[in-house]
């Protein structure tokens, strides 16, 4: 068993992570980990909700043995530090300054990357500098994950913005992703390519909507007692597009 986190990440991507966004997330964090010493080490991974960012973050966290925290709107400076220390498994000190040192020390020694999800909350509260402090003190690779508008919001914090090595926008799900998801999630019903094509089209690139639609198709097929489903059999039944239903017109 190799203990090198880099090779672990690579193998993993090739073996079980067929989704485009997962590969992108891996590549982004790897860039921060393997960066030359003179380059900054913060990377930002962002995209609309439902694009599978958290799933990608999970796989990356597990493979790189990263420290993962999810920011919340209620976070004060103290709460943020305590949460990171909890993730690290360290008993928090009393003051924020001490805790900041603890985090930096532990990140330096363990060489673990830090992943901060829902970073929008930190930016909105103006406490994103916490992350910069930790980065400055430890030079540990840091990945912040947030919504589509995150890079824009960060422009106000020039000192932070300048330390970002790479901005990686999550990509909409491709048809290949859709096929991979079908293989992963609907084991009981075989969904044929023409219907998958339609699912992909209706889901507008959102992994979450694809999953909802696949579950819908599987459920209805099982109810009808069919273990294969294609576009013709599905007919004009609705698929979930995430939009509120339009008013029915009288024909």
């Amino acid at each position: 068993m190799s203990s090198n986190p880099h090779t672990l990440g690579q193998d993993f991507r090739q073996q079980v992570a067929p989704l485009g966004n997962v590969a992108l997330c891996f590549a982004t964090l790897r860039r921060a980990i393997t960066r030359p010493a003179h380059l900054p080490g913060i990377v930002c991974y962002y995209g609309p909700s439902g694009y599978g960012k958290s799933t990608a973050a999970t796989l990356v966290t597990i493979s790189y043995d990263a420290v993962y925290v999810q920011a919340r709107s209620s976070w004060t400076r103290k709460a943020a530090h305590q949460a990171i220390l909890k993730g690290l498994g360290v008993i928090p000190a009393k003051t924020v300054a001490e805790m900041s040192d603890q985090i930096a020390e532990e990140l330096v020694l363990s060489k673990r990357p830090l992943i901060v999800d829902e970073a929008d909350y930190l930016v909105e509260r103006g406490s994103i500098e916490i992350i910069r402090d930790i980065y400055e003190a430890s030079q540990a690779p840091v990945m912040i994950i947030g919504e589509e508008g995150l890079p824009n919001k960060l422009k106000r914090w020039e000192r932070f913005h300048g330390r970002v090595l790479d901005w990686a926008p999550a990509q909409p799900a491709t048809l290949e992703d859709c096929k991979a998801l079908a293989k992963l999630h609907s084991g009981k019903v075989q969904i044929e390519d023409d219907l998958l094509d339609r699912v992909h089209e209706m889901s507008g690139g959102s992994v979450r909507r694809i999953c909802v639609n696949l579950a819908l198709i599987e459920e209805q097929s099982l109810v009808a007692g069919q273990d294969v489903m294609n576009l013709k059999m599905w007919g004009s039944r609705e698929l979930y597009t995430g939009e509120a239903p339009s008013r029915r017109r009288n024909a």
Binding site: M1, S2, S3, L8, D11, F12, Q15, V16, S54, T55, A57, T58, L59, T61, I62, S63, D65, Y68, Q70, L85, K86, G87, L88, G89, V90, I91, A93, E98, D101, Q102, E105, E106, L109, S110, K111, R112, D117, L184
Partner: protein, 201 residues
């Protein structure tokens, strides 16, 4: 004065034997096996004492992994060890032959479920598996079942939701076995063994 920099991190939670040994090594930096055992066995509780052989086993693995250095052999002098590569508060998971182990499957599942938030057993299994150390479906299923019983997860149909407030720390809750001697004549548990099955590597 040249002193090692002050360490301000101590591990959270109850420590396993190996974690206690590791904490003592980080404290002492240079030590003999005797120093180490003395530092670890400070409490009066004799049952919790860590034996020399246990310390030796762990040290052997750490030396082979290059984390602890071995001093020169001097006659009539106990061997001195030195901590060369301090990897933080987490005790390195190392086999006796010096190969490193990845985090335990349960720890990986525990970590994955707080990120996923909402998941099926199969999704958790995929998320927590790494090459060379896959998590079995049955293992994921058993673990989710127990965590749901403990109120960490809420089950709805085939899916589970992690209760954020129940994220108690970075160590995964463990499923233990307790053997009990039950007397049906008096409807009493007469004797219960110490729990077995704690992650102690």
């Amino acid at each position: 004065m040249s002193q090692a920099p002050a360490r301000h991190c101590s591990p959270a939670g109850v420590l396993t034997d190996r974690e206690r040994l590791w904490a003592a090594m980080r404290e002492l930096r240079v030590f003999t096996i005797r120093d180490l055992c003395r530092a670890v066995n400070t409490g009066k509780d004799r049952d919790a004492a860590i034996s020399d052989s246990k310390a030796k086993d762990y040290l052997a693995g750490l030396v082979r992994a290059g984390i602890v250095g071995k001093g020169l052999t001097v006659r009539f002098e106990p061997m001195r060890f030195e901590l060369i590569s301090d990897t933080g508060v987490r005790a390195p998971r190392v086999r006796k032959d010096g190969t490193m182990l990845p985090e335990s499957g349960r720890n990986r599942m525990w970590k994955a479920m707080q990120i996923l938030g909402e998941f099926s057993t199969r999704e958790l299994m995929h998320a927590a598996s790494i090459p060379g150390a896959a998590v079995a479906y049955s293992e994921a299923k058993t673990y989710c079942g127990w965590l749901a019983r403990g109120g960490y997860l809420v089950q709805s149909g085939e899916r589970f939701r992690f209760i954020r407030a129940r994220f108690t720390g970075s160590k995964a809750p463990q499923i233990l076995r307790v053997k009990q001697l039950f007397d049906p004549n008096t409807d009493k548990v007469v004797y219960a063994s110490d729990p077995e099955g704690r992650d102690d590597l």
